[in-house]
Symmetry: C2
Subunit: 138 residues, 2 copies
Amino acid sequence: MSKDTFHAAVKNALIKEGWQITHDPFPIVYGNVNMLIDLGAETLIAAENSQEKIAVEIKSFLPQASAISEFHTALGQYINYRRALSVKEAERNLYLAVPIIAYNTFFQLEFPKLMIEENSVKLIIYNPEEEALVQWKN
Amino acid sequence: MSKDTFHAAVKNALIKEGWQITHDPFPIVYGNVNMLIDLGAETLIAAENSQEKIAVEIKSFLPQASAISEFHTALGQYINYRRALSVKEAERNLYLAVPIIAYNTFFQLEFPKLMIEENSVKLIIYNPEEEALVQWKN
């Protein structure tokens, strides 16, 4: 499965649960910094339903890649995007979407668990094969 | 200039100022997470002098690359490394080393300045051509 497949899986899973995808990619601009120029920004989307607006940073955590490397980037993006959103659209919640396989392995290790908790990272756990959302963790 | 050149420039600049390079790369292990597996970890070194122990995350911020992408990863690494160090070696200070050209441009924008300040990121600004340290910012 390619990164594009994971991206499509999360989008389709959100749509199945009644979300409308409003932006793909979702642009965030803060002063002179355009986060769309970010090479990883194609993984950021926005969605809404009647109750809530969200932004979702989609990560694939492919087993053959380095999980800790992807985690560094994911955490940095999350903290930066969240801060920029807090100014632009304080009511929109940011989620980091991770596949169930990565959640059940790497994300159960002591260090990632600690960092997710300490940095108040909200998670969406998804099943890429079934294009389904497994769990939301706030 | 390649990334290796920037890495060597920071090491030589530290040595010129009386620091001893003790680890290159500097391994950080926390539980079952080995941050040396990190693809970017070859840029983390450790040094000490008679007064202080430091770890330095060396970034090149090459002008042709996306500064915001490199900034996401740099911030995530910094926050993760600092947290792991706080448990293993609380007395060692972590610095993010950035070239003077990037410091005078990207790092003067409102957003990076805000994030560096809010996340208490300590900086070393270096001149890669002269292999010299320009400024320490705590």
